[in-house]
């Protein structure tokens, strides 16, 4: 299973919301889809979910075109939009039951699927409440459950963490990891990049309708942010360590942060190993030596300009 987007274009009048983007990601992986507001994330996701049609280009879910065969593609994709369309006068269980029916799930299987989903998304206590009476976070849970109702191999999640409380966010991250382990291909957009960094295997960064970076996190980071940040603490005064670090090979910059010294080093893990060895050789009693990779947030800030259209 692979999700492949080819030269996807979507114009709204003269605005090029999506401007010929191409990317792909495999099953069993979580890909972050990030970009500034108005970058074209939601439009791309809506096209992948067959909720919109591209002006040009195509997207394929396991080789099935969302443009040419949307009916087949709909079996494969679960979409969680950044909003839950207003459904008046319907309870949570009825809402999920409707979508299970709409995906063709028949009686005994439908009941099993709905019971499993209610448990998975923590909706058991909400099943008899009407949708309009739910909080934003609760609606997000219902929306996620709806996207999963037909057990699709591809999940498109637009801002799933928006409106969730901290506990629910942690739970969502765990849920997404479980779903990825089950072999689903997951594309998730979020503005909370620090949280997204913790779960994504890859990222697609979009700005003004164009792809800025796309690929596995390791590949992108090693290309764009090859350096690493090393946080060191010794039992000697930090000023002494700071001075020594600035003289060592591979260290680009260093700064004192309280009792720690942060050193930006050029190169990979071998440079960090050499740095630690050199410190020990010079007799610094190292208490703490932590290597920190740049994350999605730093990458995003580094490669985007913040332009909106």
């Amino acid at each position: 299973m692979e999700v492949r987007v080819e030269n996807l274009t979507r114009h709204f009048g003269r605005t090029r919301a999506v401007d010929g983007i191409s990317f792909s990601f495999p099953s069993g992986r979580i890909f972050g889809f990030v970009g500034p507001n108005g970058a074209g994330k939601t439009t791309t996701m809506r096209i992948l979910a067959t909720a919109d049609e591209p002006t040009a280009g195509d997207a394929f879910l396991d080789g099935i075109s969302v443009v040419e065969d949307p009916e087949k593609a709909r079996h494969l994709v679960g979409f969680m939009p950044d909003y839950l369309p207003l459904h008046r006068d319907i309870t949570v269980s009825e809402y999920l039951d409707f979508y299970a029916r709409a995906y063709g799930l028949r009686h005994p299987r439908r009941q099993e699927a709905l019971a499993g989903l209610e448990e998975f998304a923590g909706l058991a206590t909400l099943r008899d409440k009407t949708i309009q009476s739910l909080s934003k976070g609760m609606k997000q849970r219902v929306s996620l459950a709806r996207a999963l109702v037909h057990d699709p191999p591809v999940l498109i999640l637009d801002e799933p963490a928006a409106g969730l409380d901290p506990r629910a966010r942690v739970e969502l991250r765990e849920l997404l990891k479980i779903l990825a382990q089950q072999g689903k291909a997951i594309l998730v957009s979020s503005h909370i990049l620090s949280e997204l960094s913790e779960i994504v295997d890859g990222a697609i960064i979009i700005e003004q309708g164009r792809i800025v970076r796309a690929g596995m996190m390791d590949e992108i980071l090693s290309r764009d942010l090859p350096g690493r940040l090393v946080v060191i603490r010794t039992s000697r005064p930090p000023e002494e360590l700071h001075k020594a670090l600035l003289q060592m090979p591979g260290v680009k910059t260093a700064r004192i942060a309280g009792r720690h010294v942060e050193a930006a080093v050029e190169g990979g893990e071998e440079v960090c190993q050499a740095l630690l060895a050199e410190l020990l050789r010079r007799g610094f009693p190292v208490v703490e030596f932590t290597q920190r990779r740049a994350d999605l947030e730093e990458l995003f800030m580094n490669v985007t300009k913040g332009d909106v259209q």
Partner: protein, 485 residues
């Protein structure tokens, strides 16, 4: 079971709005019947009480159902189809046909609910005497048909991808047509309630009129249904296939009934109504055909047959303006040919007189329809494909504007330029070259020949101008090349 029906029924049962409308309807009936009984103390001696009360109740019932049920169903679907926040049910595997059918069934359930609320009052009307049960049931069936038509029209309107303003305009226009329809139904209903369905009014003319009204309502419902399904289908699909199959099916069945009617039915019956309806319908359909797309995606191209003959037939039944124009022209030619063979000189009828006039008017209307539609298509390509762009699906609007201008504009210019100059007389307006673009002058014996020549020349010019386009489109209609193994 259709998931749309389950969901909508659940929502309707819980909806305060539906409950409120239902209660208002009940109260209204109660008040009206109470007032009628209060102000008619001679009810016991008169035999017209039941008839009057039925007429009043039927008016309230039809009016309520025709306003509430279509608006409720149409607005909900339009909201769900909103481009900004399209309902996610359209990203599920539920088919467009199931959506429309589900909405119709739900509308039928609501109508049934309102009808059931009316049932006790109708029973009361029957007890007042002056009306029989067949009349009441026929009235109710007629009202139900009206409501079904209104609901299907509202659903169609909700499906089409256009602005709210255009939908409101089309809705008002449709409401006008539906009200006319409803009033003719009411008139027939009142006539029936006065004399009974098998009384003096219930002659063959009455029943023929009633049957025609009911049949045309059913056929329109069917057409609007296939149209709505086509609009909801993905653009990559062959959206027009079910529409054209439906039209050909209805056209064939009506043609066969017409032939049987002529040979087995009442003496003097002819095929003119069928031929006239066919030509008028397909003449208008030219405008629909030129508003279709002109490219096919891989989904359609995968299904294009390789054999030439099968491909030619597929071309006529595949979404696309060129195929649509050829199909429409073919249907008109077939209709006129069948009419000529079955009810014309071949069938022993004199080629002169009525037959000649009818044939000339029909052919003229078809030629005008083709000429206006093709002119609109050519104008759109020449003038409105650059910065000032009109999408192909609005070509019918250009055709309509041209027809309006061609019908009104020359006469208006004539009046403005000649009025008061001594060259003016009312007769000037009814003849002469300035009426040539007005197809309705075909119905005038004096100007028919000139209009027919003009329409023929105009249509021929448009046909010649369209040949490269038609050839190009037909040539492009090829199956996908097979990938090398």
């Amino acid at each position: 079971m259709n998931p749309i029906v389950v969901k909508e029924a659940r929502q309707a049962v819980r909806s305060r709005f539906v409950s409120a409308v239902f209660l208002v309807f009940l109260v209204l009936q109660l008040v009206v019947v109470w007032l009628y009984v209060l102000f008619n103390p001679d009810l016991a001696s008169e035999l017209s009480g039941g008839r009057d009360v039925t007429s009043i109740l039927f008016s309230i019932l039809t009016g309520s159902c025709m306003l509430f049920v279509p608006i409720y169903s149409g607005v909900r679907l339009a909201w769900e189809r909103s481009a900004v926040q399209m309902d996610l049910m359209f990203t599920t595997t539920v088919s467009p046909g199931a959506v429309i059918r589900g909405k119709m069934v739900n509308a039928a359930l609501l109508t049934g609910l309102i009808y059931s609320a009316c049932a006790p009052f109708m029973t009361f009307a029957y007890l007042l005497r002056g009306i029989d049960l067949p009349t009441i049931f026929l009235l109710l069936a007629l009202g139900l048909l009206n409501v079904a038509l209104a609901v299907q029209f509202a659903l169609f309107l909700a499906c089409i991808p256009t602005s709210i303003l255009a939908k409101v305009f089309l809705g008002l226009f449709g409401l006008g047509v539906l009200l006319l329809w409803m009033f003719s139904g009411l008139w027939m209903g009142f006539a029936m309630s006065s004399f009974g369905p098998f009384g003096p009014t219930g002659g063959s003319d009455f029943w023929t009129g009633m049957a025609t009204l009911a049949l045309s309502a059913l056929l329109t419902i069917g057409l609007l249904y296939v149209f709505s399904v086509a609009v909801l289908s993905p653009p990559s699909a062959n959206r027009m296939l079910p529409v054209r199959i439906y039209i050909v099916g209805v056209w064939l069945v009506l043609g066969i009934v017409s032939v049987l009617w002529k040979y087995l039915g009442a003496s003097g019956a002819g095929m003119e109504p069928w031929a006239a309806c066919s030509v008028a319908f397909f003449a208008v359909w030219f405008a629909v055909a030129v508003s279709e797309r002109s490219t096919w995606g891989t989904r359609i191209r995968r299904r294009i047959p390789k054999r030439l003959l099968a491909r030619a037939v597929a071309f006529l039944f595949t979404s696309g303006s060129a195929g649509g124009v050829l199909w429409t022209a073919g249907m008109i030619v077939l209709a006129l040919a069948i009419f000529y063979l079955m009810d014309g000189p071949v069938a022993g009828r004199s080629p002169a007189g009525d037959f000649k006039d009818f044939f000339a008017v029909s052919a003229g209307l078809a030629l005008y329809g083709f000429a206006y539609a093709m002119t609109a298509a050519i104008l759109r390509k020449l003038l409105f494909s650059g910065r000032l762009r009109i999408p192909h699906y609005y070509t019918w609007v250009i055709a309509l504007a041209l027809l309006t201008a061609g019908t009104i504009f020359p006469g208006a210019v004539l009046i403005l330029t000649c009025y008061g100059t001594g060259k003016w007389s009312p007769e000037t307006l009814s003849g002469g070259p300035w009426t040539l673009t007005n197809p309705f002058y075909l119905f005038s014996n004096d100007s028919r020949a000139g209009h027919l020549v003009f329409a023929s020349v105009w249509a021929a010019l448009m046909a010649v101008a369209s040949i490269p386009w038609l050839v190009r489109e037909a040539a492009a209609f090829r199956p996908l090349p097979q990938a090398p193994r």
